[in-house]
């Protein structure tokens, strides 16, 4: 098997995540799809690290993980406060800025 298949898998997972972000309207599920996309990117970075034979790709994946952790904390806090304000986690209901 050619290790390029890992890249194809990563692209497939990223596509599924992106489609999920467009399809779903529950804010939590949308957020989970974003996490899936980040994970797919991480897989690609790790495979690139193997391809080039150095550890820089793994370092980038490590930083992606740290940023994802920070993002999850803030994003979930926003979802919780949004839910408190309007008793719904649907992204359709958050339309205060609409004309």
């Amino acid at each position: 098997m050619n290790p390029v298949n890992y890249l194809y898998l990563s692209a497939l997972l990223f596509t599924i995540g992106a489609t999920g972000v467009l399809l779903r309207r529950n804010a939590i599920v949308v957020f989970m799809c974003v996490e899936l996309m980040l994970n797919a990117c991480n897989l690609a970075f790790v495979v690139f690290s193997r391809m080039h034979g150095n550890l820089d790709g793994q370092i980038i994946a490590f930083f992606t993980m740290v940023v994802a952790a920070a993002e999850v904390v803030v994003g979930l806090a926003i979802i919780v406060s949004l839910f408190r304000a309007r008793h719904s986690a649907s992204v359709d209901d958050a339309s205060l800025m609409k004309l």
């Binding site: 098997m1 390029v4 497939l12 779903r24 799809c33 193997r50 993980m65 952790a69 999850v72 904390v73």
Partner: protein, 282 residues
């Protein structure tokens, strides 16, 4: 000879190929379930499964530290945070499947498909033939190699990451902390308010107690036989977990009455016997 060496450089072992095809299928199914499952809890569990599979792939690609971190941080911390928030929010967060924008679903699928084709074409056309492998980079140990890079080449990014984490922690606290703007009402004030409103003075009625059912999710019956909403906790009502056994209870009651009637009929039929004996004695 150089051809075989080059071939060995970019083909994996049969074991890894087998692992890739089996676990890759699991990962894709998990990702699809994350998108397609209706309840957020099921989505979260499917995503956790996909992340564990990805951790195995990291290990297979020589990223030992990242594989462990993936399991500890992603499936251990982040997914549990997700489940925690689903628990906080999920009571009324049923996802409606009604389309609010006409044709949005098909457009989204089309966009996803186009994007996927673009990505696959890009990877297919890239000249990815040389795989050096991480053997030499991991020679002194994966963790040691990563640490050397983090504290030399990427030390600035590492320090900025620290600032980012502190900011995120403070931000989460600011966002979820709610300042109480008014004094909490005392019990006396609440009682007076109830009297003033005159809606429901006494405590709420208890849930139904039946011969065969006795739990908090079973509503009590009003005199006319309809279940009373007031007797069940609001959380259970919103989750749709109210177990209505009123029809069953009324059916039981009817069956009991019928049986009692039959018994009474039999006792009413029985009297002829004594008369017959009387006639016989005559």
């Amino acid at each position: 000879m150089s051809a075989t060496a080059q071939l060995a450089a970019y083909t994996t072992s049969t074991g890894e190929a087998f692992q890739f095809w089996v676990l890759g299928t699991v990962a894709v199914i998990g990702a699809l379930c994350t998108v397609l499952m209706r309840k957020a809890v099921h989505s979260a569990l499917c995503l956790a499964g996909t992340m564990i599979v990805l951790a195995v792939f990291y290990l297979a690609n020589g990223a030992y530290f990242l594989g462990v971190v993936q399991i500890v941080v992603y499936t251990g911390a982040i997914m549990m945070l997700f489940l925690f928030v689903v628990m906080l929010v999920g009571v009324t967060a049923a996802d409606s499947l009604k389309e609010t924008i006409q044709g949005q679903r098909w457009l989204a699928l089309l966009c996803g498909l186009g994007f996927g084709v673009l990505l696959f074409a890009g990877i297919g056309n890239a000249s990815l033939t040389q795989f050096a492998g991480t053997g030499r980079a991991n020679a002194n140990g994966n963790v040691q190699g990563l640490a050397a890079l983090i504290f030399t080449k990427y030390v600035f990014a590492f320090e900025i990451t620290g600032a980012l984490l502190i900011t995120a922690a403070v931000g989460a606290m600011v966002l979820t902390h709610r300042e109480r703007t008014e004094r909490a009402k005392t019990q006396r004030e609440l009682a007076e308010q109830r009297v003033r409103e005159g809606k429901h003075l006494p405590p709420l009625p208890a849930p139904g107690v039946y011969a065969r059912h006795n739990a908090v999710d079973i509503p009590g019956l009003l005199p006319d036989g309809t279940p009373s909403e007031l007797t069940v906790s609001r959380t259970l009502r919103e989750r749709g977990q109210v177990r209505d056994v009123s029809a069953e209870a009324l059916g039981d009651l009817k069956a009991l009455e019928q049986r009692a009637e039959e018994r009474l009929d039999r006792t009413r039929i029985e009297p002829p016997h004594p008369r017959r004996t009387e006639e016989a004695s005559k």
